[in-house]
Amino acid sequence: MPHSSKSTRRSAVTIALAAALALSACGAKAGESGSAAPAESCVDTSGSAVKIGFLNSLSGTMAISEQTVRDSLDLAAAEINADGGVLGKQLQIVAEDGASEPTVFAEKADKLISSDCVAAVFGGWTSSSRKAMLPVFESKNSLLFYPVQYEGLEASKNIFYTGATTNQQIIPGMDYLKEQGKSKVFLVGSDYVFPRTANKIINAYAKANGIEIVGEEYAPLGHTDFATIVNKLKASGADAVFNTLNGDSNVAFFKEYKNVGLKAETVPVVSVSIAEEEVGGIGVENIEGQLTAWNYYQTVKSAENETFVKAFKAEYGAGRPTSDPMEAAYTSLYLWKAMVEKADSFDVAAVQTAADGVTFDAPEGTVTVNGENHHIAKTAYIGKIDQDGLIYPVWESEGAIEPDPFLKGYDWAAGLS
């Protein structure tokens, strides 16, 4: 006994000493804080290929959506490579899984930039994934192409936003409801940054346009019990609903909506997160006749879209629809190609300078990059969900809408940002 306790004490002292030594070793190295010059780029463009990164969630809750974006990115890369690559260099894809977690997105973005030395990264879906990657791209001075509609109020020089900002999706959605003579709108959304910001904008819009917001309800992401919210909706006397729910919640919401006897003809729901892919999951019978606000549908009539849809179905099967985020991702790769070719360089600063005014005849129509806020001018479409599960445009904006992420061009939005 005495022997053992003694040796315990001795080892304890040594351990403590070792720990102290270890800690002091780091103190010596702390040094002065550096001046944070942007990291030197390690992108290698000397060979016959250039690396780019695809970062989408292939596992976790977002995988089902983000896999479709990955598929269309792969398609675009294959097309570009078959066509001779970019500046004569073949694209070499480094694929990563964001795992539906912001922290993983940040880590993988860092890895793609610092370890793989990619020229640009394409991907991200949720706002949280973009927000998590933003400081990484800014501090390492690299480029991210983000393909999903989002809540605006952002413009990083290191991100190109090829999905819609609020004045290209939310505001056209409200314009349409106003045009239809709707005056009592009910808001329902998932509890995260996009719905809350969208609803803030809708509230301001409504106030300025004589529309009454008769209810505003949030459900946690993944929530599937909508009895209370739908009852509130019915009792509110709303004549339209603006829906910013995401994912599975939509299934439960529309089932409940149907259960209480609400009809698309009298109380239409405008959704901004339901695309062709999601319609099947919700069940066409539950959602037929409802409205969506996007900038692309599979049914958009253009020669470019015909080619895109055909190529996609040839690659992934006739049963796979194409949707807005997929098209925006596909477009993003071609836009990057156009920027690089205009700059005649893969260098980040050169691409940023060349970006302004770059256009691409995308499946959704011709898009143009705004060099100031790095968003793109897009046409807005209000679509109606048909019984074949596809969405058909019933209204479109007059030409492409200039991106305005901070809503500076709208007087009523003055207090928002």
Binding site: L58, A106, D110, Y192, L221
Partner: protein
């Protein structure tokens, strides 16, 4: 070989590995990744102590990890905003007014104290209240898990003051040091390594102390300990509080290393994955949780880089194999080769309760 000497040698080896080999062999990016794993391993050390030695299946360590992480994040956000400043996300999504409970985190001293004390105090109070009512085993596990779920929901719901699902990120400095400087990132790694080693040393001391013996006794025969005149609730709450404190420190260091803390890092799923590493490594041993946790994190990253679309299956497979064939973790492999119970403890009859971990946690 004298077991104390062996522990000492193992500890020295780990120090050499962490302080000399790793920084020399790894790129800046990989070293930062390792720092992140070390932060998670800190949580694992605490889980190993509370679960392996104390028999408490702590399924909700994400709460304490998150408290530490968010406290640190609040401080860094405020430091970046400057004196009297308001964090950027509050201006963007909120009304731009700093809530009163953020204010104390401006001070670095208060922040560090809060990280060390708040989560531990919460665990102590909560643990004592729960254990006094003799809530044990699966019931305690469910309770701790519910806590993690509630905490994540709370963070998500209060977007204007917590950043919601986006969490808090975009930090520029850590106690005055520029985080964009690779040298400072390296220092951060050394801090993580040092803190982890100190924690392991601390647990090793506790394991061999009178308190450590009592904790194992409570795990194996709570009633007998009670009849001897001790208060098992207090003994368990103590271990729970220590685990909470370790988790909070891990979280506090994780935030500057990873550059972000979000509800996805503190909820039920991350709480469970923290546990998986401990289970795989061997929960009742000193180094099992640390090695298991680092190995699982490393495997997650490595496999997801190599097989981005199917890596989760490998991880699931590994877990199934360990649970089915090595219920006491990979550490039990070393048990089998040596008959004497050499987990770094003295070989004397009185302490042989240290044998595999126990049904105590699973009624």
């Amino acid at each position: 070989m004298n077991p104390a000497l062996k522990t000492w040698a193992g500890f020295g080896g780990a120090a050499v590995l962490l302080f000399a080999v790793a920084p020399a062999a790894l790129s800046d990016f990989r070293l930062n990744l390792l720092a992140k794993f070390l932060c998670l391993a800190m949580v694992a050390v605490g889980i190993g102590f509370a679960w392996g030695r104390g028999g408490m299946l702590v399924l909700g360590q994400g709460v304490f990890f998150g408290l530490g992480g968010y406290l640190m994040a609040m401080h860094m956000k405020l430091a970046d905003a400057g004196p009297g400043g308001v964090p950027d996300f509050m201006l963007l999504y909120g009304n731009g007014v700093l809530p009163g409970w953020w204010e104390p985190m401006r001070s670095p001293v208060v922040t560090v104290l809060a990280i060390l004390v708040l989560p531990a105090a919460l665990a102590l109070v909560l643990g004592y209240a729960v254990f006094r009512r003799r809530v044990r085993g699966a019931y305690f596990a469910i309770l701790s898990q519910a806590l993690a779920a509630a905490f994540a929901l709370l963070l998500i719901g209060q977007q204007t003051v917590t950043g919601g699902t986006n969490g808090l990120n975009g930090f520029r400095s850590f106690f005055g040091y520029d985080l964009a400087d690779p040298l400072n990132k390296q220092t951060l790694y050394y801090i993580c390594a040092g803190v982890l080693l100190a924690m392991v040393a601390g647990v090793r001391l506790l394991m061999n102390s009178r308190y450590g013996e009592l904790l194992v006794a409570v795990r194996d025969q709570e009633n007998r300990v009670r009849f001897l005149g001790y208060d098992p609730a207090l003994i368990k709450a103590g271990a729970y509080a220590l685990a909470a404190c370790f988790a909070a420190v891990g979280g506090a260091l994780f935030t500057p290393v990873a550059g972000i803390i979000s509800p996805a890092d503190v909820g039920v799923v991350p709480s469970i994955s923290l546990l998986i590493g401990v289970a795989i490594g061997g929960r009742a041993t000193l180094l099992g949780p640390v090695i298991g946790s680092i190995a699982v994190s490393w495997a997650e990253t490595g496999l997801s880089e190599r097989f981005p679309s199917i890596w989760t299956y490998f991880l699931g497979g590994l877990f199934i194999v360990v649970v089915a064939f090595l219920p006491n973790g990979l550490a039990s492999l070393t048990f089998r080769r040596r008959p004497s119970p050499a987990t770094g403890k003295q070989t004397q009859p009185a302490t042989s309760v240290d044998l595999p971990a126990t049904s105590g946690g699973h009624p």
